[in-house]
């Protein structure tokens, strides 16, 4: 499988201010995104995530390093033909309607009139903007703008979809919708590259991730490789028994009414707790093993760097 994105030794220093003070944002980024995979790009604020994306898209000129998209050098506009981009906050021409905007975007890809109209109709249906299609964009809510943004990112049926914080600022229902759409991309064989803060979502849908801290990639690899399957502890929720019952077996985290939440570190102790509940006629409400999450790794990595 070819690389959808290949970045080698990307460097960028900004010189801002009246008396230019150089700030090195990217200090030699190297990673690649294989075709067909869903890739998560994470890092704390200011690490250089958006700068990397802007370099990829040709919005910023790197000081050094190379970027190629499906083998084409990123400096050629043609490299963006198989690419669809959704920015972090939607910024579109507010005097156009969604339909006009999509028609304009289609023209930029050189799509013919017939194909254009077909795709626009299909996309408006996909993102749920059929009824609002002829309202000017300035009348749209933020959620609607996000959907319009998604539609314009898909107008050319891209092989590579680049999303900058697609889940930020959305309610849980919206986030689920976007997650479902991204999973559908994966089923269609599209490559997805996105940045996000919401690590639970990344954990759910990504194949590989890279963590960027202070302009450098500090961890890269498949999600399964990075996160061990090891169980850190098990959370047990019990009712009908006082917390003291479980002294020595687990840590009582909280008590509400007659419910007790316990943290049990030892696997063997979990069996004991279950047996104890059964013997003392208590009720076992919930039992959830907690494995290492991406968040744990993320926090650990960032604080260590």
């Amino acid at each position: 499988m070819a690389d959808a994105i290949r970045i080698e030794n990307l460097r960028k220093t900004f010189r801002l201010g009246f008396i230019p003070k150089p700030r090195e944002i990217l200090k030699g980024i190297t990673f690649n995104v294989r075709e067909g995979e869903t890739f998560g790009y994470l890092g704390p604020n200011g690490a250089g995530k958006t700068t990397t994306i802007k370099c990829l898209l040709g919005l910023i000129h790197p000081d050094a390093g190379t970027i190629s998209i499906f083998g084409r050098p990123h400096s050629s506009p043609r490299s963006r033909e198989p690419l669809g981009f959704l920015p972090e906050n939607p910024y579109f021409y507010d005097y156009l309607t969604a339909r006009e905007f999509l028609a304009f975007t289609a023209e930029l890809f050189g799509l013919g009139r017939g194909e254009r109209d077909k795709r626009i109709a299909r996309l408006l249906k996909l993102v749920g903007l059929e009824r609002a299609a002829d309202l000017p964009l300035r009348k749209y809510s933020r959620g609607m703008l996000q959907r319009a943004g998604l539609a314009q990112a898909l107008i050319n049926d891209p092989k590579l979809v680049v999303l900058d914080e697609p889940l930020g600022g959305m309610d849980p229902l919206g986030r689920k919708e976007i997650r479902d759409i991204i999973v559908r991309f994966k089923d269609e064989g599209k490559t997805v590259f996105f940045t996000s803060h919401i690590l639970q979502d990344i954990e759910m849908i990504c194949d590989r991730v890279a963590i960027i801290v202070g302009g450098r990639i500090v961890k890269e690899g498949g999600l399964r490789d990075l996160i061990s399957e090891k169980v850190l502890f098990t959370e047990v929720t019990v009712s009908g028994l006082p917390p003291q019952t479980f002294e020595g077996l687990g840590e009582s985290v909280s008590t509400r009414g007659d419910r007790v939440l316990l943290k049990v570190y030892d696997e063997a102790c979990v069996d004991e707790v279950v047996a104890l509940v059964h013997d003392r006629k208590g009720r076992l409400i919930a039992l959830s093993p907690r494995t290492e999450t991406l968040e744990d790794i993320f926090v650990d990595t960032v604080t260590r760097t």
Binding site: M1, A2, D3, R6, E35, T66, I67, S68, F70, G71, R72, P73, H74, S75, S76
Partner: protein
């Protein structure tokens, strides 16, 4: 399984560099193009009326309001233009609206002194339009009553160019009234009065100057003029008498004494120094023995 269309070793820096070089070459070509075209366009002779549209502005009063408080600057700029305009000999009819142009400058900035003098200079020397010169200088005097140069220049023009002595006298009189006027202006006035033919007033004026003279030099000048006036008065009287004699006797008298003896003259006047006048019996003309200016 897609095979990349290009080699995976990206060649971006070179490609980008060549595009920039192409662009720079294009820019240089375009610049060379328009520079050459400009030179070519310059060669085409257009019927130019540079700045002629200024003639169609009604008056400086209108411009005064239109220039939003930059009247003095507007006056400067128009004056600068005017200098170039009037020194361009190829514009044949450039003097047609001389007074109008300078009127605009004067109305925009009445206290801008140069245009009055220069405008009058152009009017007299180049346009040979004395009326325009007077108009400009009168405006200068009206707008700057403390400046003696304007009536002085006007008097000078009247005296030398126009040779209109009453007008010259009027201007010199006006000049004298302005504090700071040079002391010789009253002498110019006196001379103008003499030239216009009013000998009696001329004598009185010069006498007054003589009596008030603050130094020897002025005294001497006044004295010379007095001598001249007296000589002129006397010459007129003598020649007049001689002419009457000729009417009577058919020929001019042999000497001045004859006129007294025959009753045409009461007495033979002497010049201011007490010397005799010279009489030429052939022409009947009287003149002084010495020049009034070399006494």
């Amino acid at each position: 399984m897609k095979t990349p269309l290009f080699s995976t070793r990206p060649e971006s820096p070179r490609a980008k560099g060549s595009a920039t070089v192409l662009l720079v070459v294009f820019l240089l070509a375009a610049a060379a193009g328009f520079a050459a075209l400009k030179a070519a366009t310059d060669k085409v002779v257009r019927a130019k009326l540079p700045g002629a549209s200024i003639i169609y502005i009604p008056s400086g009063k209108f411009l005064r309001y239109a220039t939003f408080g930059y009247r003095a600057l507007a006056a400067d700029l128009i004056y600068l233009w005017a200098i170039q305009y009037y020194s361009t000999p190829t514009i044949d009819d450039r003097f047609d609206h001389l007074d109008h142009v300078f009127a605009i400058i004067n109305e925009l900035d009445p206290r801008y002194q140069d245009p009055y003098e220069v405008g009058a200079l152009i009017a007299v020397q180049e346009a040979r339009d004395v009326r325009a010169a007077f108009a400009i200088l009168d405006r200068g005097a009206a707008n700057n009553p403390d400046q003696w140069v304007y009536p002085f220049n006007a008097g000078h023009v009247a005296l030398m160019t126009l040779k209109d002595y009453p007008v010259a006298e009027k201007y010199f009189e006006q000049t004298m009234k302005i504090p700071g006027a040079p002391e010789f202006v009253e002498r110019l006035r006196a001379n103008a009065i003499f030239r216009k033919g009013d000998l009696k007033t001329s004598w009185e004026t010069w006498l007054d100057i003589f009596q008030r003279a603050p130094d020897e030099r002025t005294k001497r000048i006044a004295s010379n003029h007095l001598y001249n006036v007296k000589a002129t008065i006397d010459a007129v009287a003598l020649e007049d008498a001689a002419a009457k004699y000729r009417e009577r006797f058919g020929r001019l008298p042999a000497d001045l004494g004859t006129l007294v003896r025959t009753g045409f003259l009461r007495e033979v006047p002497k010049d201011l120094d007490g010397k005799d006048y010279l009489y030429d019996p052939a022409t009947g003309k009287v003149r002084t023995a010495i020049s009034p200016w070399r006494r």
